[in-house]
């Protein structure tokens, strides 16, 4: 068994998603807030979501259009949540 087969790629993705979820949870538990923290949380969320799209849904092997469509969706949703948070700060 080669080293690359010691852990399946999908298992590595699952492990990464678990770790990043733990990081997001700890950010919440620590009571951290502010634009930089929210940007970090949203970028982490965008990354995690794209991992699911690419490796779990399997869109990494689909036509770039479909992958781009979902990435565009995630980017707009996470980006607009960030904009809304910024608007809340300025109120």
């Amino acid at each position: 068994m080669s080293t690359s087969r010691l852990i399946r790629p999908c298992t590595a993705v699952w492990l990464l998603l678990v770790i990043l979820t733990g990081v997001t949870y700890l950010v919440g538990q620590a009571g951290l807030s502010g634009m930089a923290i929210v940007a970090f949380v949203l970028i982490t969320t965008l990354f995690k979501s794209q991992m699911v799209v690419d490796h779990f849904m399997g869109l990494k092997r689909a036509r770039p259009f479909w992958r781009g469509l979902l990435f565009g969706y995630l980017l707009i949703v996470c980006g607009m949540i960030g904009v809304a948070y910024y608007v809340g700060l300025t109120h």
Partner: protein, 192 residues
């Protein structure tokens, strides 16, 4: 071995019809998320204070549960692509089991809120929290029904390495349910 959900034709995995449904669902959830985010922008203090009453551990646990169930579904698809129906059924059963864990955790969370006198009319935050999470809750149930139908067909030998579009279709829907929660958790439970 990490078998992709579909072949190398570049097509979407599963039946294209499910993707119309998935995109429509994502659009609805997206609008819901942005409505929450901009409502929060006008009521920051209320949202921050109300959010303190949420059980973040339950939210994080349910995120891990859904991620793990999605992983099990990936393994189920890989199994059927290896022409192993028995293993496919086992992974699907495990995924449905994790879906049940999600529902139980969520029901405890709902019960806790209702017993504290919290309802849709408590305030804007809880109106969003309850309706968003309940809407997602219903999608988890629908996803489990779809996975159960796929499991039953797989158990009776209805899928093979050459023909398993139904497994990919169910898997795609389940991953969408997971994807939506990956955004919902930080939005409602973490960001403040």
């Amino acid at each position: 071995m990490d078998t992709p959900l579909h072949d190398d034709t570049g097509a979407l995995p599963g039946d294209f019809a499910i993707w119309i449904f998935i995109f429509a669902e994502l659009l609805v959830f997206g609008v819901f998320f942005l409505a929450y985010a901009f409502a929060r922008a006008n009521n920051v203090e209320l949202f921050n204070e109300s959010q303190l009453q949420l059980d973040r551990i339950s939210g994080a646990a349910n995120t891990l549960v859904l991620i793990t169930s999605s992983y099990f579904v990936v393994r189920a698809v890989a199994a059927i692509r290896d022409d192993d129906s028995r293993r496919c059924v086992h992974w699907l059963a495990a995924a449905i089991g994790m879906g049940s864990v999600f529902l139980v955790i969520k029901m405890f969370e709902f019960a806790d809120k209702f017993s504290a006198g919290i309802s849709l009319s408590t305030n804007t935050f809880f109106m969003f929290y309850l309706s968003l999470t309940f809407f997602h809750f219903m999608h988890v149930i629908l996803g489990m029904v779809i996975l159960a139908a796929v499991l039953l067909k797989a158990r009776s030998g209805g899928y093979s390495a050459a023909s398993h579009i139904g497994v990919e279709t169910g898997a795609s829907y389940w991953h969408m349910v997971d994807l939506v929660w990956l955004i919902l958790f930080p939005l409602v439970y973490v960001i403040h």
